[in-house]
């Protein structure tokens, strides 16, 4: 993975002598042998390396932090040349977030003019009020730095566009309230509290086992009570990661590290904080003059910090707050002997603080009853179980819609939709429950969708609510589609005015536009939409059929009713879940080479796409098969079953063209568990059909793939539990007798699939 954050050590010495500084006061003493200042030549090389990295990885934005020692010791001239070089070398290539972090002592107007000219934001280290700051942040002769730093911050407050924030290293001997108030009074755009660097070899001094958590909790309470006026990076990161959003700091969360340090002599180093671990810990043995950044990215130490959950020790992996904590800052995990495979030396503090903040700010979250998870992992799931998944899908769609709106300037569609959401929630929910609303939103967020369609969604909700509304709707792929209602043919028009009142609606400026209402397929106890109008249904990897004729629709109705009767009679374990979750059937074009085709799309919960089936039994099989994907996709929307950082690829007999990532293998296993079950029953219904061979084939292949899942090391603890549920269902089927002939034919097919797959990969 490419680097996006670059720390340039422009000066390796400091004019203060803070006794908690990780550069000078900890294990790694490499600063002693380094040039004090980064030369112009080294700086030019550093910029060249970053620029080539940006180009080769197509990076849209990078962050560069000028750091030290004390970077301002490099002087106005040298720093000016470096900044100009950075802006010149990277400016045309990507967005450059350029910052400098200083102790503030030398920060004068001349520096600020320079930073203003080149848009460099300035962060300052300050440990709080005078008493707190003077405890550590002093000159070598013991003098206080406080007044000078405050003067610097005052200068910054007069140039708010340059003011990045304040960084405070915690000392639990200080009064947390006084520290916070002193910092907040300086109105920083952001503050962070840093745990003093420590390792298991040299633990922090702490009067009580969770002194740091307690200290921070006091501040958290004041911060909350006062309305969270000053953003606190640590608290924000805990709140964000608790809801699945990314952390804002490398010291928390599971995000892979994408940061590299360039020292004054041009050597690349890993995370700066590693200096506290042992002499030479951050070294890579690489430097800007001979090595590009891709070489650094391949360094084992760098890779080790990109493993997410998989890179943590067993204690952290099993920890309930690991998604927020991430095991703490990498350096803080170090212990001689076990290296970094430990929880943070601040583990007790982190656990207490995160748990506390989560409790204090709890928003209801979705959860899956254990019994539901067990039923789903066994391959089934009844009405209640699937309803639980569907409930979470409603949340997903609301969030995605809000996401689309956040990336657009406010539109009439959003205005109408939010009004209806307040007044006619049921109508809005009914429209948002349409499976392809999510597909549309996802396309917009990936920059491939038409955000104007939001007006169509709002329009459809207005019609359903019986509200009075008038709104310009958008044509997508030649139709003005109104989700859950149908579509007008658009001809050459791109927008039209929808007028709705009392549930009736028309296009004011296109009164003759042909209307295609949606139709339904019905069977005993089940009714689904026959979706052939929504342009966003084109997401199934197969060409979809156009608007069906009445005859074609009638043919679908016949085969659907028979297929459903078959599912109810022969495969009742799947019927209940399907009844609760299958809402939409999308006809596909018949595949060019004959045979069957079907698909479920991750972003279209409730929909299954199928090409006209040969017979009702085939449709029953395809519905059961695809609905497994629908269920599992919805489970994966809620919880992680696979470690997202796992990169292994696996042979899947059902997708022979290329090896599959772990989650895709799990999807295939889950679907083929049901396929096996289908043939297990079916083989007894028609003796001369393919049932016996298909049963023998898929039970064997599914069992093998379960073995691959188990052995992958890429399942989360919950994923392992889910896979054991699958295994428990399959295992007894492995002992069911099949004829020798069928077993041989299945073995031959399995062999052929392997050979086919190998040939395709060559």
């Amino acid at each position: 993975m490419p680097f996006r954050q670059f720390v340039l050590k422009v000066h390796s010495r400091c004019d203060l002598a803070c006794d908690h500084c990780y550069v000078y006061e900890h294990a790694d003493q490499s600063w002693r042998s380094r040039p004090a200042v980064m030369s112009d030549e080294t700086a030019a090389w550093a910029v060249t390396r970053i620029a080539e990295h940006v180009k080769s990885h197509g990076l849209a934005q990078v962050h560069v932090v000028l750091h030290g020692g004390e970077p301002l010791l490099a002087g106005h001239g040298r720093l000016g040349r470096l900044i100009a070089e950075l802006r010149g070398g990277l400016g045309g290539l990507c967005a450059l977030d350029l910052r400098v972090h200083t102790n503030g002592v030398l920060l004068d107007e001349r520096f600020l003019d320079l930073f203003e000219e080149h848009d460099v934001r300035v962060g300052v280290s300050l440990d709080g009020d005078r008493a707190a700051n003077d405890r550590h942040r002093r000159y070598a002769d013991g003098r206080s730095s406080y007044d000078r730093v405050i003067r610097a911050v005052e200068r910054l407050r007069r140039r708010p566009q340059l003011y990045a924030g304040l960084l405070c290293t915690i000392d639990v001997a200080n009064d947390p309230g006084a520290v916070y108030r002193a910092l907040a009074a300086l109105e920083p755009p952001r503050v962070d509290f840093l745990l003093p660097h420590a390792t298991w070899d040299s633990p922090p001094s702490r009067p009580t086992p969770t002194a740091y958590a307690d200290w921070l909790i006091e501040i958290f309470e004041i911060w909350s009570a006062e309305g969270r006026v000053v953003p606190v990076r640590m608290f924000e990161s805990i709140l964000r990661t608790s809801r699945g959003a990314p952390s804002l700091t490398e010291s928390l969360g599971l995000e892979p590290a994408d940061l590299v340090v360039i020292e004054t002599d041009g050597t690349y180093e890993q995370a700066d904080s590693l200096k506290v671990a042992y002499e030479g810990a951050p070294a890579t043995g690489l430097e800007v003059f001979h090595h590009d950044l891709d070489a650094v990215a391949r360094h084992t130490g760098v890779l080790a910090r990109q493993q997410g959950l998989g890179g943590l020790c067993a204690t952290c992996r099993a920890c309930p707050v690991v998604d927020s904590c991430g095991g703490g800052l990498y350096a803080h995990r170090y212990r001689t002997g076990s290296g970094f495979a430990n929880p943070s030396v601040y583990s007790a503090d982190l656990f207490k603080l995160i748990t506390y903040i989560r409790r204090r700010t709890a928003m209801p979250t979705h959860s899956v009853p254990a019994a539901t998870m067990d039923a789903l992992s066994a391959g089934f799931g009844d009405q209640e179980d699937v309803r639980c998944l569907a409930a979470a899908q409603r949340t997903m769609r609301r969030a995605l819609l809000a996401g689309v709106n956040a990336h657009e300037t406010p539109t009439a569609g959003w205005e109408l939709l939010t009004r209806l959401d307040d007044e006619h929630r049921d109508a809005v929910d009914a429209v948002l429950d349409h499976p392809y609303v999510r597909e549309w939103a996802v396309r917009c967020l990936r920059q491939g969708g038409d955000a104007g369609y939001l007006a169509n969604i709002a329009g459809a909700a207005a019609v359903r609510a019986g509200a009075v509304a008038e709104i310009a709707i958008t044509a997508v792929d030649g139709v003005f589609h109104l989700p859950t209602l149908g579509a007008f043919e658009a001809g050459s028009a791109t927008t039209a005015r929808l007028v709705a009142e009392g549930g009736r609606f028309s296009l004011e400026d296109l009164p003759g536009a042909v209307w295609h209402p949606l139709r339904r397929l019905t069977a005993e106890g089940l009714s689904v939409v026959l979706e052939d109008t929504d342009p966003h249904r084109r997401c199934h990897g197969h060409p979809v059929a156009g608007r069906l004729t009445e005859e074609e629709a009638a043919a679908w109705q016949r085969v659907f009713a028979e297929a459903w009767a078959l599912i109810e009679s022969d495969h009742p374990a799947y019927a209940s879940g399907l009844r609760a979750g299958l809402t939409t059937l999308v006809p596909l074009d018949p595949p060019a080479g004959g045979g069957s085709a079907s698909s479920a799309a991750r972003n279209a919960f409730g929909a299954v796409a199928v090409a006209p089936p040969a017979d009702p039994a085939t449709l029953a099989l395809l519905l059961v098969h695809e609905f497994q994907h629908v269920k599992l996709g919805a489970v994966l929307d809620l919880v992680d079953l696979c470690d997202p950082t796992h990169t292994g690829l696996y042979y899947a007999p059902w997708r022979r063209e290329s090896p599959r990532p772990l989650e895709a293998l799990l999807q295939g296993v889950y679907a083929h568990l049901a396929v096996t079950d289908f043939w297990r029953v079916r083989r007894h219904r028609s003796e001369d059909g393919p049932g016996e061979v298909q049963f023998a084939l898929w039970r064997e292949q599914t069992a093998r793939a379960i073995g691959d899942l188990d052995g992958s090391g890429g399942l989360t603890p919950l994923g392992a539990r889910f896979v054991s549920g699958i295994r428990r269902t399959l295992e007894p089927w492995l002992d069911e007798p099949v004829s020798g002939q069928a077993a041989a034919a299945a073995a031959e097919l399995a062999e052929r699939y392997r050979a086919e797959s190998a040939a395709l990969r060559r």
Partner: protein, 56 residues
């Protein structure tokens, strides 16, 4: 039922339940957390700050 049983009877998700939150009130954090689950690739560059611990 003791606390452990209670814990084990539900598998928690970090997805905030937004069903009863008006669309206009969905918070940035909740929205981002969910988009990240659905579209992990789109958020890689969205955090607008340098995450370096020793600067702000």
């Amino acid at each position: 039922m003791n606390i452990t049983d209670e814990k084990q009877s539900e598998v928690p998700s970090n997805v905030t339940d937004l069903r009863d939150i008006p669309l206009s009130h969905v918070s940035d954090i909740d929205r981002e957390g969910i988009i990240r689950r659905v579209l992990p690739e789109t958020l890689v560059e969205r955090v607008p700050v340098a995450r370096f611990n020793s600067s702000i």
